[in-house]
């Protein structure tokens, strides 16, 4: 009997994890906050505390930062139904035994570099001398990652623009809701978008 049960039983669908991704300083923390406000439980350990660069918190998980070094990644199966922040560089480390719906944040690369430079400075870290070279590196990195994502059957991607989300929070929240297929609270999601935090706007950078 057990034999027939095993043969004819439907295989369990793989666990599905909701991922927020993009380059650092592309609005990933803001999107995590939106998801959490909308009703998706966020997987975060609170180790990295809010600071000047991210006054509303980082929404990070140390286990994710270590992903490239981990042998056993089966803990990700327990992340099903949660949202977790995974920077673009680490997407390739996500094992294919889970399915991933990824909200990928795009942002003007000049704005990203300017914001990262400020953060590096505050952390007392060395920054690259040539911003244009860094923009070129990140541009190629994003091209490679997006090309790789297109070939992965266990990933589904929604690309959103950081500036666009701040311009129209409810419209973008609706897109996220539809993409995730969850009953999210659009109003609460939109309410956490704070345009005051859009500090490295391209138009301002150019005029500086």
């Amino acid at each position: 009997m057990a034999f027939f049960k095993r043969i004819f039983s439907r295989p369990q669908p793989p666990p599905e994890v909701f991922v927020v991704s993009g380059l650092p300083r592309s609005g990933t923390s803001m999107m995590m906050k939106m998801l959490e406000a909308g009703g998706v439980p966020a997987l975060t350990d609170g180790i990295r505390l809010a600071d000047t660069d991210n006054p509303k918190g980082y929404y990070e998980l140390e286990q994710i930062k270590d992903l490239a070094k981990q042998v056993d990644k089966s803990w990700l199966k327990d992340a099903a139904g949660h949202c977790v922040k995974v920077i673009s560089e680490l997407l390739i480390e996500l094992p294919p035994f889970c399915r991933y719906r990824v909200i990928f944040m795009n942002r003007d690369l000049h704005e990203i570099i300017a914001s990262q430079n400020r953060m590096l400075q505050r952390r007392g870290e060395e920054k690259a001398d040539d911003d244009e070279a860094m923009i070129d590196l990140f541009s190629r990195h994003l091209g490679k990652i997006k090309d790789w994502l297109r070939r992965q059957s266990h990933f589904r991607i929604l690309y959103l623009d950081y500036g666009g989300v701040l311009e129209d929070p409810p419209g973008n929240a609706r897109q996220v809701k539809e993409f995730l297929g969850l009953d999210l609270d659009i109003e609460l999601m939109a309410a956490v978008c704070d345009p005051a935090l859009y500090r490295n706007r391209r138009s301002r950078l150019v005029s500086q």
Binding site: A68, E89, P96
Partner: protein, 63 residues
């Protein structure tokens, strides 16, 4: 499943089998394909990848 096949020696195959299970993969094929994807990504544009990793470490986003 019906794609190209790769030969491995028995000892390596045993190790791959052991680690794919330990790491939570649902099959040896899945583990091998993912390992190769990561290795190829490392080799493509290796120099710029290092530069990016250095910056991301400085920003505190990878360890």
């Amino acid at each position: 499943m019906f794609g190209p096949k790769i030969k491995l020696d028995k000892a390596l195959y045993q190790k791959v089998k052991e680690y794919s299970k330990l790491a939570g993969y649902s099959s040896i094929d899945e583990f091998v394909a993912h390992a190769l994807e990561k290795e190829v990504a490392k080799l493509e544009d290796a120099e710029s990848e290092e530069e990016i990793k250095k910056r991301l470490k400085g920003l505190g986003y990878i360890s």
